[in-house]
């Protein structure tokens, strides 16, 4: 079934829409949630909440591509749950990815705590537009999809070590970019 046909089912308020959405994009949604939450029970809850969120959002939205749309919902829900349970000990891929970025943004220098997330988001988007495709792919897979290094290496037909080195250089570039833009001190 095409995305357009699935979206039409949502518009018709047919519950078959959820079934077809799960069949086509369920694995991608679960992967995003699992990488952040790190356990199956939370992942399953998050996936179900994602389908409910999609049900509420379509209509009026008619997203394209649909997979990006539902993965974004899943990520938003998973990160909310992740931070709500911050005290809980976790061991997810997301922990490690966030640690890397936190180190990059701190790195011994003082940084404004009340940093505006929207401003940072715009800066990261602008920064990503300056990268070549492969670097952008690696950054997005690591820090948006929260994929482990080995998986990214496999996807990009390279070695884990190469991905690690490239990510380090990308983070250095990002830090330099944010300093130049006056967003980091």
């Amino acid at each position: 079934m095409t995305d357009a046909e699935i979206i039409n089912l949502f518009f018709e308020r047919s519950e078959q829409a959820i079934t077809e959405l799960a069949r086509k994009h369920g694995n991608a949604v679960a992967r995003v949630a699992r990488n952040i939450l790190g356990n199956e029970q939370d992942t399953e809850e998050c996936v179900n909440d994602t389908y409910l969120g999609t049900w509420k959002a379509i209509p009026p939205n008619r997203p394209s591509p649909l997979r990006t749309f539902v993965c974004k919902i899943a990520r938003n829900l998973a990160t909310m749950k992740y931070h709500a349970n911050a005290a809980e000990k976790r061991n997810s891929h997301y922990d490690v990815a966030l640690d890397e970025l936190e180190d990059c943004f701190s790195d011994g220098n003082s940084v404004e705590d009340e940093f505006n997330a929207k401003e940072l988001s715009e800066a990261i988007n602008s920064f990503l537009a300056t990268l070549n495709y492969t670097d952008r792919f690696i950054f997005t897979r690591r820090y948006w999809y929260s994929d482990p290094l080995q998986d990214i290496a496999k996807m990009a037909n390279t070695t884990t070590n190469s991905v690690t080195v490239r990510l380090y250089r990308i983070r250095e570039k990002l830090r330099y970019y944010l300093v130049k833009e006056g967003l980091l001190v």
Partner: protein, 256 residues
Amino acid sequence: MKRETISMALNGLEDTFISEAAEFRPEAIQETPERTERMKTKRIISIALAAALILALGVTAYAIAGMLRSTARHNMPETGEFTSLSELKTVERTVGYPLTVPESFSNGYAFSRLRVDGTADYDENGEILREYYCVNVNYTDSNAAEILLDLSPVKEGSVIQGDDIRQIDGVDVSFQLDTYKYVPENYEKTEADIAAEEGGHFFITYGPEEITESKVASVSFDLDGVRYTLIDLTANGNSLETLGQMAGELIAASHG
């Protein structure tokens, strides 16, 4: 920085980046100076219309082609959106170049809004080659059809190029009509696609589930060190003539 802030910021990544990373497809992305222009224009269009189009103007040649890696939005003071032209003089002082931005054109397109954005060109190492302001203006007609006018300073060594250049009032104007084919991420190019791409006016954009095509018309010309580009994202048979007439009015207004 708080982890929550980093986490929230990552949630705001652009759909384009998320979609293109769904699958590793380096062959679908060609990093060329022309593409950087397209990316820049695409960002302008995305902001203006939230349309997932890649627009190739194909009219720019760079003497510095080997150096320029990319163009991106850049934090600069006094950027923002205006819903009237009453502040145009202030905007001119901010951007540092003259702006010919009429209230309306004789074909009925009237000013809707104007946006000033900071922009920077980067080299291979992420160093800024130059920073400048871009001005994006939206015009709409009584049927809510929209035409975009993009203004930016002409880059050193950049000249108007194209296979359809006409003179209007002594000014070289490049006319371009391009076809955009939107295809699913796993789409394999056909021989016809490859042949059409070689013609320079056919572009494939990956992402949507269904295959569709649309035409984009644009005209570009330089006036007083400023590049003007008029764009119709939903082109029809008359679009180039419409844009040409509007270009003529802009050129006449700047001469007047």
